[in-house]
């Protein structure tokens, strides 16, 4: 029924199956939307946040999706600026994942603030000294860039592409994509960094505070670096999951392997820098404020030193060593473990830099504050996941996300389908994947 929209040369499941899947995920989405509306209309009392936990689950989710969405800018950087051509097979998907992550991040922010209708004050009355201002500006701009990067793919839809203007628009945008990618990388560098700066500048919170250079605390660079390192792992992870779900090989191994290798070296360098940072903070910065390292990791029910071990050793060094070795990269299980650990690692880092910061008491007579999210918070946090799954499903079905899919999964076109292809459009249709 929707075969006219499906890219040529690939096979998709029947429409009813597709709709059933969308419907099932849609229910989760609606649940999230309901929670979101509750938060908007009744206020943030719907959450379990409190005056000690002003930043909570959402901000973590926000930081986490931006971190893992970092795959888009870094892959784009490698593809368009450093000319790693192998990555052209995965760049579309990286952009799509990035688009989902960033739109989710913006949505979460819109729910998280107490006065959503005034959210634009962050631009209008911008305080340029605030890391959050930098985040807001760069995040919104980069989301614009991601939209620009995602748009040509949408325009490649068989029906849309029939419109000459859209066809040419997509083509022209491809032509100068390097400019957009470079701008995106610039913006990403700053907002990923600023997100790190959000915690690092809190000089009233010795657990978060870091020294740095000029106005940027070390967390600024560590966040950018970790996003660049672990973002591609998330891209690979989602690609692999998509391959499992579709039961098809969608991206060539050389692209994955290259990305995994670069990611591995990035993770290794990052985690070394993170280790040095942690060491300096634990032995110099925190003690200068009267804290020993273990004070941050004791006297409470959750945050033990395990979390530091998990973040740095298990989810840092292990994936780095797997991915930098050829043997590790060639081992499918090894790659699975490495990318999952790396993604967990970066999410754990964001968790620690948001929630543990709020939990640690600073005044001597204060106490640890632990908090449990309300169902509304959980639902609104799952909402982007459902939204992402749906957008991926739709994009995958109707857009040529994976340029090599047809080549790697050849099918015998059915006679009526072949006849349905308009002769005049057919040559152009074949051109597109090569361009992408």
């Amino acid at each position: 029924m929707d075969s006219a929209l499906i890219p040529k040369g690939v096979k998709r499941c029947p429409l009813w199956q597709f709709l059933l899947f969308i419907g099932a995920v849609g229910i989760v989405l609606l649940w999230g939307v309901y929670a979101m509306l509750l938060c908007w209309f009744k206020g943030l009392n719907q959450t379990n946040m409190n005056d000690y936990y002003g930043f909570a689950l959402w901000i973590w989710a926000d930081l986490a999706v931006i971190a893992v969405g970092g795959g888009a800018f870094f892959t784009g950087l490698l593809r368009y600026i450093f000319g790693k051509d192998e990555l052209k097979n995965i760049i579309n998907y990286a952009v799509l994942i990035g688009f989902i992550c960033y739109s989710s991040a913006l949505l979460i922010l819109a729910i998280d603030i107490g006065q959503p209708l005034r959210g634009w004050f962050i631009f209008w009355h911008a305080n340029v000294h605030s890391m959050l201002t930098e985040v807001a500006f760069c995040l919104s701009c980069y989301f614009g860039v991601l939209t620009i990067e995602y748009l040509p793919l949408v325009l490649e839809n068989r029906q849309i592409d029939k419109v000459p203007f859209f066809h040419h628009l997509g083509h022209n945008m491809h032509e100068i994509m390097a400019v957009f990618a470079a701008t995106g990388a610039f913006l990403s560098f700053f907002h990923q960094g600023s997100l790190g700066g959000v915690a690092g500048v809190l000089f009233g919170r010795p657990f978060a505070y870091r020294e740095g250079v000029f106005i940027w605390p070390w967390t600024f660079f560590l966040f950018t670096w970790s996003a660049a390192a672990c973002g591609p792992c998330f891209t690979i992870l989602v690609t692999k999951i998509t391959e499992k779900v579709t039961r098809k090989k969608l991206v060539k191994d050389n692209a994955i392997e290259l990305l995994a290798k670069i990611s591995g070296w990035m993770i290794l360098t990052y985690i070394i820098a993170k280790t040095v940072d942690t060491w300096y903070w634990a032995t110099v910065t925190a003690p200068s404020k009267g804290f020993t390292l273990m004070e941050f990791y004791s006297n409470n029910a959750l945050y033990g030193i395990w979390i530091l071990v998990a973040e740095i050793l298990i989810c840092g060094y292990i994936p780095a060593f797997i991915l930098i070795t050829k043997k590790g990269r060639k081992n499918p299980l090894g790659v699975w473990i490495a990318i999952i650990l790396a993604v967990i690692g970066v999410c754990l880092n964001r968790w620690v830099m948001v929630l543990q910061v709020m939990a640690v008491p600073v005044m001597t007579f204060d106490h640890w504050a632990l908090y449990y999210p309300s169902w509304q918070e959980v639902a609104t946090t799952i909402l982007p996941v459902a939204y992402g799954v749906i957008l991926i499903a739709i994009s995958y079905r109707y857009l040529p996300v994976f340029p090599n899919e047809a080549e790697m999964n050849p099918i015998e076109p059915l006679p009526e389908e072949a006849a349905a292809i308009e002769p005049s459009m057919a040559p152009e249709q074949e051109l597109t994947p090569a361009e992408a």
Binding site: E134, F165, H168, M173, F180, T183
Partner: protein, 52 residues
């Protein structure tokens, strides 16, 4: 975000920050404008060719 917002001051912070911002926005803006105009021209050319 504009010099006419009252909290604006002509200091290093505003110059660097807003400078960077407007620089990025300009590039994106010019890039997109170029693409759209060129696409419109290309499309009209092609359309003309089709008609002839």
């Amino acid at each position: 975000m504009f010099p006419f917002n009252f909290e604006w001051i002509w200091d290093m912070g505003h110059t660097v920050f807003m400078g960077g911002l407007w620089y990025a926005l300009t590039i994106i803006g010019i890039g997109m404008t170029y693409c759209i105009i060129k696409a419109a021209i290309d499309a009209s050319k092609k359309n003309g060719e089709h008609h002839h």
